[in-house]
């Protein structure tokens, strides 16, 4: 199969032919994104008589609605690159959100949960949210490295437990009535704030993954843990770091989400983990580890956003939306794979 097929490829290790290979893998998935957008544009003119893309508020909502998933997906990307998986993101969003929200309420709100904790500066709930997320991530990482259970199980356990904590924390009642200061996190800059945070996080982790040892270790562990170990990398320590950071990003995503929608609910974040994983995988991150880039994940998230907005734009029946969405996820990955194969063959 793969390796056997590979045998054919490298007929000569001629450095010239190799230079051509440097087209980043993200190009093909970027083309998928463009393809989907153009398709909606054309269909828009035909069926709705409107432009899909030439509409500032639609462009905003496209990015806005994937910012939260996008921030999570960046952490998930790192986790997947190490060869792991994180199923807990959605529930941890809810847990961080519920706990932090009780520190974000304004005293003028009729249903204050902890009256002693109202009108706090915005960084208090923010820190609480980040800490809760990071802690959940740390527990994931600790379980995976110290007890050697598969990441799937550790994070599945966290998924179930964190949801329980989110429900238990306020007995299931939603928490709203945030201070204006806190709400800015999701609404400042004429509502572009979540997008700005998403972009900053993406750039930071793009740099981290490409230009720091932290990034190289992450790839190395995913590519071949044994080789990483004999190269002197402390795998356990590094994995704990990666899961903790992923958790921190989930906490951040939760803060952005509740600041934007101005409420925290125990049921929120449902299936976010799957959307985040889908964004990463559509963006070319390999579930077997060792391969993938932040830029790809960002594009993957945008594909999901374009799809969501496009469906509403074309007024496709909600029933069909799901059917088509499933198909598009599959087709996007197929196209990406096919293009990558072709590129490999032609070099």
């Amino acid at each position: 199969m793969t390796t056997l097929d590979n045998t054919m490829k490298e007929v000569n290790d001629n450095p010239d032919t190799q230079k051509k290979k440097r087209i980043p893998a993200e190009v093909s998935i970027l083309l998928v994104l463009i393809g989907i957008s153009v398709m909606f544009e054309i269909l828009g003119w035909i069926f709705v008589g409107q432009s899909f893309l030439m509409n500032m508020s639609r462009l905003q909502i496209i990015i806005l609605q994937v910012s939260v998933i996008g921030i999570i997906a960046i952490g998930v990307t790192m986790v997947i690159i190490t060869g792991g998986i994180d199923l807990s993101s959605g529930s941890v969003v809810a847990m961080s959100a519920m706990i932090a929200a009780t520190f974000a309420q304004s005293s003028s709100w009729p249903k204050v949960i902890s009256p002693a904790l109202t009108d706090l500066p915005f960084f208090v709930p923010l820190m609480v949210g980040l800490t809760v997320g990071a802690l959940a991530g740390f527990v994931n990482g600790w379980l995976i490295t110290k007890t050697r259970i598969p990441p799937f199980i550790a994070t599945l356990g966290m998924m179930v437990s964190a949801r329980g904590v989110a429900r238990w924390y306020t007995d299931g009642s939603p928490v709203s009535g945030f201070t204006n200061e806190f709400a800015m996190l999701g609404n400042a800059l004429d509502r572009w704030m979540p997008v700005v945070i998403f972009i900053i996080v993406a750039i930071i982790f793009h740099v981290v993954m490409r230009y720091t040892r932290f990034g190289k270790f992450t790839y190395a562990i995913g590519a071949n843990p044994q080789a990483a170990r004999v190269s002197g990398i402390n795998i356990d320590r590094h994995l704990i770091k990666v899961y903790t950071i992923a958790g921190l990003l989930v906490g951040l995503a939760a803060m952005v989400a509740i600041a934007r929608i101005k409420t925290a609910q125990a049921g929120m974040g449902l299936m976010y983990e799957l959307d985040a994983i889908a964004a990463a995988v559509i963006g070319g991150v390999s579930l077997s580890g060792g391969r993938g880039r932040i830029a790809g994940t960002v594009i993957g998230a945008l594909i999901l956003g374009v799809m969501l907005s496009g469906f509403t734009f074309l007024r496709i029946d909600a029933y069909y939306q799901d059917i088509i969405k499933g198909a598009i996820i599959v087709v996007a990955v197929i196209i990406d794979q096919q293009r990558q194969n072709k590129r490999k063959k032609t070099t």
């Binding site: 190799q18 071949n224 170990r229």
Partner: protein
């Protein structure tokens, strides 16, 4: 590691001053024991390595050589005993600690991050960084190139490992180990995946390192290498230390006796077999861009050897015949009848068997046990009754008989193949194909990583099979093996057959001439 330390490791390409030799031994292993479930892999062994010396380790498969090396490299912790560096006892809890103490190792199995580039693999954890702590990729590429220039390796530092051939991957491992600029360099069968040219190249590198005062531990199953490169050698048998000698003082037969505890009469027990009809006939087989116009015949009872340099396309031809990667054009006939083999299943149905060259990638089912590994290729056969039910009892009996015949060293047949030494894994895979009772047997590097004793056994087994009328194709990068075993030798160069020599006219020179053109 800080960037100053990186600078130091980088400077290997310059004129490094020889190491300080104030101690007689750089490395001493004292009374080390190490057990695994069911096996005592090391039983109270000792080993002393001098600086500026190539010290070979010899021993049968499963003698404990790799285990000892892994203890020294900090991968395994010994159950008892100690390791001393320059006379000082050290505890090497992690590979990192061993590296920092000046021990580098090339592992028996390739241990590279396949999805990363050559440079990233070599400098992992030691990447050069700029003033802001970010990795300086340009400098890393430069360091790699300098290292490659010094070692005379021609590879693109930016190439991804997964695109390299096994031989080139091995060269990357070697370069990586050298780059540590360590006091002790362990090489566990570094030549098992490379051909004569690369071996010569490696030996040049080793001689250079020896001159700089490094103590080199060199594990090999190839006798010729021992005499060529090693200054002294130690022998292990069944986890026990047998003795150390200067390689100039002993003969080949003496070493073998030390290793296996008995005489091995004949390395290449070639018998003259009356050749039968043509069993397999290949005409103008072509896989575009890989090999072209390959034609040859093999008769019943004949052993056809394939010789050539690494990458000459021998394995690809075998894969094409067996349907792993079917050829684009050309014909294959069995007993004069044209066959269309589109996948390995077709090939097996036609009575072919194919031992692949990469044990780990295409051979072993690591999570399964020995029995299941042996039986994987016969599930289409008479062992399976109606409803797909397998005649497990009969299969187990036959598998066990084969294991006994091949002397597979294992506590029992339910042992996971993962826990066997490389040589024993190889024997299990041979057993897999013997169980199919093939008419045509293709062996790609059948004795890679196999000890002398077992090698002789496999050779005699192949001879016996030929005697029974099996047509054998044997691909090997060990020229003596090809020359010793084959009735005829087919030589390939860059995807083309450059000649087919009869046993009488084939020798080192004639084959190498055809192979290198």
């Amino acid at each position: 590691m800080n960037s100053a330390a990186v600078e130091e490791t980088v400077s290997v390409n310059g004129a490094t001053p020889p190491k300080d030799h104030s101690c007689e031994y750089v490395l001493e292993v004292v009374n080390v024991s190490k057990g695994f479930p069911g096996v005592l892999a090391l039983d109270d062994v000792c080993l002393k390595i001098r600086p500026s010396t190539v010290h070979a380790l010899m021993g049968e498969n499963g003698a404990g050589k790799s285990t000892l090396m892994k203890v020294i490299a900090g991968i395994y912790q010994p159950d008892s005993g100690e390791v001393r560096l320059r006379g000082e006892p050290v505890t090497l809890e992690t590979p990192l600690k061993a590296q920092e103490s000046g021990i580098a190792m090339i592992h028996q199995e390739l241990l590279l991050m396949n999805q990363m580039t050559v440079a990233e693999n070599i400098w992992i954890r030691r990447e050069p960084t700029n003033a802001f702590g970010f990795i300086d990729h340009a400098k890393m590429a430069r360091m790699t190139e300098e290292l490659f220039v010094r070692l005379n390796i021609k590879l693109d530092p930016e190439a991804e490992i997964s695109t390299l051939s096994v031989a080139n991957r091995q060269m990357v491992e070697i370069a990586k180990a050298v780059s540590f600029n360590s006091d002790v360099l362990i090489m566990d069968e570094p030549t098992s995946a490379i051909t004569e040219t690369e071996v010569a190249h490696l030996f040049e590198i080793i001689r250079g390192l020896r001159k700089r005062g490094i103590g080199i531990v060199y594990i090999t199953h190839k006798m010729s290498e021992l005499f060529e490169i090693a200054d002294e050698f130690s022998v292990f048998r069944d986890g026990k230390y047998i003795g150390t000698h200067a390689s100039a003082d002993v003969t080949r037969d003496e070493i073998i006796r030390m290793m296996v505890g008995r005489n091995v009469d004949q390395m290449f027990p070639k018998e003259d077999v009356a050749l039968g009809d043509v069993l397999l006939s290949v005409k103008n087989l072509t896989l575009n861009g890989v090999f072209h116009d390959v034609s040859f015949d093999v008769r019943a009872g004949e052993i056809l050897g394939f010789a050539g340099l690494v990458g000459s396309g021998r394995s690809n031809v075998a894969e094409a015949i067996f349907g792993v990667t079917p050829a684009d054009s050309g014909t294959v006939c069995i007993e004069g009848e044209e066959v269309h083999i589109k996948n390995p299943n077709d090939a097996i149905m036609k009575g072919m068997a194919f031992l692949t060259e990469d044990r780990k990638e295409t051979g072993c089912f690591l999570s399964l046990d020995i029995q299941e590994n042996i039986q994987s290729a016969v599930l289409h056969e008479h062992f399976v009754g109606g409803g797909g039910f397998v005649d497990q009892k009969r299969l187990n009996e036959e598998s066990e008989a084969l294991c006994r015949k091949l002397r597979v060293k294992t506590p029992n047949m339910e042992e996971a193949i993962e826990n066997l030494s490389g040589g024993n894994q190889q024997k299990v895979l041979i057993a897999r194909w013997l169980l199919t009772h093939p008419r045509i047997l293709i062996l790609d590097e059948p004795t890679r990583g196999i000890d002398v004793g077992a090698k002789a056994e496999i050779h005699s087994l192949v001879t016996k099979l030929a005697h029974k009328g099996v047509a054998v194709i044997m691909i090997s990068s060990e020229l003596p093996e090809v020359l010793g075993m084959s009735d005829r030798v087919l030589v390939m160069h860059e995807g083309r057959v450059t000649g087919i020599l009869d046993r009488s006219e084939a020798d080192q020179v004639s084959v190498m001439n055809l192979a290198a053109q």
